[in-house]
């Protein structure tokens, strides 16, 4: 995972900078520049520490051949608070069982997060003013925002608490305006700054991008990181690892067909019943087309849709992902699970010995996303 995030960070810095990987033809230029997640505003911006992705949540599944990366979440990955809440629930309810194993600690995540964010301080001080920027109480992840702000001892701010003056970001405190050095932002790029992105955004801070571009404040993760977790770019991550690190990838991708490629499109159309098709810009498990679960008529209709707009889709084989015993309505039943470990990167990369483990709750379902009714489990990484 450390190898993977190192390559992804280098890729993002490169595509918004000299774009060597594009000029060397490793990734077709139109795949990057034509991607909706490509942020032209980030072109030429100096990114603190050359680390655009400080917090990454990589989704892993286990298949017969071993672990595979399902996707990388490089924008505002969520779920870490549930990992810790699940652990606390386990420790409360299974005290003796827990004591018998030498389980690695996940609760130090807050300390690691603080250490990581501190390294992004543009002034290089030991005590930067760090805030967590949330869309507010109506956001589904507000609990997590509050939890993390508490863990790292940062103020939980909304856009209306911040303002930009003379190229610096300030927050309104009861002692006056306090300069902000590092913003752990939990709102999407589109809403960050109404002067740069969506003009109707009331969640963001007017002028924030101006302050960021001047290097007066650090945004973690940086805007524009979505370019590297777009599903059509995902297929190139092994190439990125070879290109930037001159290493072979340790963790492999799931085999992926890019439908903008005519051969891949034909293969997909011929084998739709064995594949899952995903929209490239989608997330949260929305828009998935699982061929095996559809009728012939539905597959035919979808094939037509794919022919009309192939650039917008990728296809992957339907995986036999590993299952774990789950307590379902007073019975123990198998359910599919995936793992989301969180990788923190500042001057160095850090991980906790655990992951957010998601469950597909409906019987036979492969969709683990929380937004689609997925559940969660505590995951133990046991010391040798």
């Amino acid at each position: 995972m450390i190898q993977r995030i190192a390559a992804l960070n280098k890729f993002i810095v490169d595509v918004y900078g000299p774009a060597r990987i594009l000029s060397d033809g490793v990734i077709p230029i139109d795949h990057v520049r034509g991607c909706p997640q490509y942020r032209i505003e980030m072109q030429g911006v100096s990114i603190p520490l050359d680390v655009p992705v400080g917090i990454c949540g990589t989704d892993l599944v286990r298949v017969d051949e071993g672990f595979r990366v399902l996707e990388d979440n490089l924008r505002v990955p969520s779920g870490v608070s549930y990992m810790i809440a699940n652990r606390q629930a386990t420790k409360t309810n299974f005290r003796e069982l827990y004591r018998r194993y030498r389980v690695r600690d996940v609760e130090k995540y807050g300390t690691l997060l603080y250490e990581t964010l501190r390294e992004f301080d543009p002034n290089g001080s030991n005590d930067p003013c760090i805030v967590l920027l949330t869309p507010g109480v109506f956001n589904a992840a507000f609990y997590e925002h509050m939890f993390l702000a508490d863990e790292i001892g940062a103020e939980l701010v909304e856009g209306r608490d911040l303002l930009v003056n003379d190229g610096f970001v300030y927050m309104r405190t009861t002692s006056g305006l306090r300069k902000v050095d590092v913003i752990y932002r939990r709102i999407d790029d589109d809403f960050l700054d109404p002067l740069f992105y969506r003009r109707d955004s009331i969640l963001g801070v007017p002028g924030l991008m101006h302050a960021y571009r001047k290097g007066n404040v650090a945004l973690v993760n940086a805007p524009g990181t979505g370019i590297a977790d777009d599903k059509s770019i995902y297929a190139y991550v092994p190439d990125m690892i070879r290109y930037y690190l001159s290493e072979d990838p340790i963790l492999l991708n799931v085999e992926t067909y890019l439908l903008r490629d005519s051969e891949d499109l034909e293969y997909t159309l011929d084998n739709l019943e064995h594949l899952v098709v995903k929209p490239v810009g989608g997330s949260g498990g929305y828009g998935l087309f699982i061929g095996a679960e559809k009728t012939v008529a539905e597959r035919d209709a979808f094939s037509k849709q794919l022919r009309e707009d192939p650039d917008n889709y990728i296809a992957q084989p339907i995986l036999a992902i590993s299952r774990a015993p789950c307590w379902i309505e007073r019975n123990i039943e198998p359910r599919c699970v995936d793992l989301r470990p969180f990788i923190l990167t500042g001057k160095e990369s850090r991980l906790v010995g655990g992951a957010f483990c998601r469950i597909a709750l409906p019987k036979g379902s492969l969709v683990v996303n929380s937004s689609q009714g997925g559940g969660a489990k505590d995951l133990w990484v046991v010391k040798n």
């Binding site: 939980l156 909304e158 608490d161 009861t174 006056g176």
Partner: protein, 326 residues
């Protein structure tokens, strides 16, 4: 601390004080329904609605004045509902509890987990109740329990909240709400005893207030069993030792503001300090000799409103150009 968080804490204090205050008076009114005269019941309702500066949403109840009618026993069910569970009424107990909790939900990282649990528990106890649920059982106990809920919350708060600005803003909110409500209540009570409309106002209505604000024992100690409206009024307004008196609250506010120190907006911070100074002086030094008490209470009410405005502008919604930077 973040200005918005301070603002939220200030309003938690205000909303919960309003819950407590309304519950106290509602308990009193439920008591009155049992054995008081028709006039007293009407007066009790009028006192509640007028000093809370609200009116029922039920049109039939609102139009009573036009018809020369009075609020009596038969209206009491709907009136109690209005001040207990009607969410459109911003002064109702449920509405204030909900708003207090909503502020706390957004400020959970600023309050102790014990405070949150306590508030949440109290909220869920009443959230799904209706006036029917309490009316046929024990309405007095219901209101007494709400007072207890708020007292418990404040106790947990005193035991667990770090004594920094969070504490100060929560307390300032609670104290300002108390001062404003008491000023409005005393003002209404005083006007009523001077007016012809309530010439039959009996000692019950004064005694009940003493009881409501835990001043009955102290009153008996100093003045004996005979109820003299002037003494009751002086006690609830200007007694320096009575925790529920206006004077006591104002002095506490002055102390809390002084503990906060300089505000981001110096101008409004200074105004807030001047207004609290004027209020304290008004109640402590001018009140005892004032001939027109009603006028003095009205003046104090308007000063208290302005005090709130200056606090809000000095610490929460200050102009950027005015403020200190660091």
């Amino acid at each position: 601390m973040l200005a918005r968080s301070a603002h939220g804490l200030y309003w938690i204090g205000r909303y919960l004080k309003r819950v407590e205050h309304t519950s106290r008076l509602m308990e009193l009114q439920m008591n009155a329904l049992v054995d008081c005269t028709w006039d007293q019941i009407h007066f009790g309702w009028l006192r509640l609605f007028r000093h809370l500066k609200t009116s029922p949403h039920n049109e039939e109840l609102v139009n009573w004045e036009e018809h020369g009618d009075s609020w009596g026993l038969t209206d009491s069910f709907a009136l109690a509902d209005e001040l207990s569970f009607v969410m459109q009424n911003e002064s109702s107990i449920l509405s204030c509890f909900t708003m207090g909790r909503e502020n706390a939900r957004q400020m959970r990282h600023c309050i102790s987990s014990e405070m949150w649990i306590c508030l949440n528990k109290a909220y869920f106890e009443i959230r799904d109740l209706s006036i029917e649920d309490i009316w046929t059982r024990d309405p007095m106990q219901f209101y007494a329990n709400r007072v207890q809920d708020v007292n418990t919350f404040m106790g947990v708060c005193a035991a667990t909240l770090y004594r920094d600005e969070r504490w100060e803003f929560l307390q300032i909110g609670r104290l300002i709400e108390h001062a404003q409500l008491m000023l409005a209540l005393m003002s209404f009570q005083n006007k009523s005893s001077d007016s012809d409309e309530f010439e039959d106002l009996e000692h019950y209505d004064w005694w009940s207030l003493l009881h409501c604000f835990q001043a009955d024992e102290a009153y008996q100690h100093y003045f004996g069993a005979k109820i003299q409206p002037e003494h009751v009024m002086n006690m609830l307004v200007a007694d320096q030792l009575l925790p529920n008196s206006i004077d006591f609250s104002l002095n506490q506010i002055a102390d809390r503001l002084s503990a906060l120190g300089e505000a981001p907006s110096n101008r409004h911070g200074a105004m807030a300090n001047r207004f609290i100074g004027r209020l304290v002086a008004l109640i402590r030094f001018e009140w005892p000799d004032a001939e027109n008490k009603t006028r003095m209470l009205t003046l104090a009410e308007s000063l208290a409103l302005k005090l709130h405005d200056h606090i809000a502008t000095a610490w929460f919604n200050y102009e950027v150009d005015d403020s200190v930077r660091f």
